[in-house]
């Protein structure tokens, strides 16, 4: 039975899979056991024979050349992709910078527009003749702009609201013709600028801003840009925006 134990280990021994200690023990056993030694020799010979017999087939050199070419012409994926992370980082960086630049430019344009409109609003209020057409009647104010602007717009019926139309004047915003309408709510006056969307005055997105305690509310409708400016609360601006967005027919 002891012999069985050893023969079971012979293959692993010949395959070089025994630990150093197991190998030492087996060698010692083989020195004293003729049966196991003969068995080991036979197995070793057979292993060698299989080795010799196994190496039997040789590829056609043309086939080898074909495979060689197929793996050489295409760049190895490892090399091809080794710079992929760097490229990804670069792309993200460029994207990030351009997004930030775009955002920054939009932001700057909006700040610029805001200060320009606040200046105009203040100048209008300071003027002894703040408006060129003085009327609380939208049917008077709107036709007055005809021929003065390359666009037209609708005005809401303000009766029953806390807003009163004071009048309007032709103006310019970022070198574009604009209508400036002056409204009153309680003791405050506020201006609404209406002009065409252009590269210079930005996308005219829905936004609220505050500067020098003035509020600004912008939105766009029918390709026109609306900006309301005044020293009133954001809620008042929103209420006016709502009225202007849905003018009575």
């Amino acid at each position: 039975m002891a012999g069985q134990h050893w023969t079971e280990k012979l293959d692993a021994y010949l395959d070089g899979e025994l630990t150093a200690e197991e190998e030492r023990q087996l060698r010692e056993h083989l020195r004293g056991c003729a049966t196991c030694a003969a068995e080991a020799l036979e197995r070793l010979q057979r292993k060698r024979a299989v080795q010799a017999a196994g190496l039997r087939f040789q590829a056609d050199p043309a086939f080898r050349a074909r495979i060689e070419k197929s793996v050489r012409t295409k760049q190895s994926p490892a090399r091809a992709w080794s710079w992929a992370p760097a490229l990804a980082v670069l792309v993200l960086a460029v994207l990030g910078v351009s997004l930030w630049t775009m955002h920054f430019r939009t932001h700057m344009r909006e700040r610029h527009l805001l200060s320009e409109l606040i200046d105009q609003h203040i100048a209008t209020l300071a003027s002894p003749n703040p408006v060129d057409v003085v009327s609380s009647d939208r049917h008077t104010v709107k036709p007055w702009f005809e021929g003065k602007l390359p666009f037209t717009f609708d005005l809401p019926e303000l009766q029953g609201t806390s807003f009163t139309l004071i009048g309007g004047r032709a103006s310019y915003v970022s070198q574009s013709p604009a209508a400036e309408l002056l409204f009153r709510i309680r003791r405050h006056q506020l201006s609404v600028f209406i002009f065409q969307k252009s590269e210079a005055n930005g996308e005219c997105r829905n936004a609220e801003q505050t500067a020098q305690s003035f509020h600004m509310r912008s939105w766009s409708s029918d390709g026109l840009c609306y900006v309301a400016v005044g020293d009133v609360s954001a809620d008042d601006l929103n209420a006016l925006a709502k009225l202007l967005n849905a003018p009575a027919k």
């Binding site: 024979a49 196994g54 087939f57 590829a59 074909r66 490892a78 090399r79 080794s82």
Partner: protein, 169 residues
């Protein structure tokens, strides 16, 4: 340090892979197809290969899997399940003429190997011809090391019996 190119790693294995493919398919044309497919798949999947792990076992595994899914492979790999069957003897046909032709031991072994069921043939080739460690064989075949050892032991017994039968003992 840039990683080694696929070509530098894979081309030294070419002769051995081809030899192994011939043993699996027992047909030169099919072996060429198999080797070609193996290199194409390996090249494509090289980015998923973990550097530092055994590239040779990885290549053999791809070749073997490609073979198993090929038509020739399906034909050959009839019974991987009967691992415990003890009665497996080489299915080589014996005729007196054939026996006479098998002059040398090497030829006998070749004949015997050819007749062995595929899962015995491949484990013997990987161990004795490719001199892979049990661990690498296990990785190539996708089985535990214990299975490699028991399969190897049965394969050797089957080979011995096959050789005896061929010798017309």
């Amino acid at each position: 340090m840039p990683p080694e190119s696929f070509e530098a790693l894979a081309m030294p294995l070419f002769d051995r892979l081809y030899n192994f493919a011939c043993w699996l398919t027992q047909d030169r044309a099919e072996a060429e197809d198999l080797v070609q497919e193996t290199y194409a798949k390996a090249l494509k999947g090289f980015s998923s290969f973990q550097p530092g792990t055994n590239f040779r076992a990885w290549m053999y595994r791809i070749l073997r899997n490609a073979f198993l899914t090929s038509r020739a492979g399906m034909k050959q790999f009839v019974s991987l399940e009967d691992e415990d069957g003890e009665e497996l003897v080489a299915a080589a046909e014996q005729t007196p003429e054939k026996i006479l032709l098998q002059r040398t031991e090497e030829e006998l072994i070749r004949k015997a190997l050819d007749g062995l069921p595929l899962h015995y043939r491949e484990v013997l080739l990987l161990c004795d011809v490719e001199e892979m460690s049990y661990r690498d064989i296990a990785a190539t075949l996708g089985v535990p090391i214990g299975t490699v050892m028991s399969r190897l032991s049965r394969a050797r017994r089957a080979l011995r019996e096959a050789v005896s039968n061929l010798q017309g003992k």
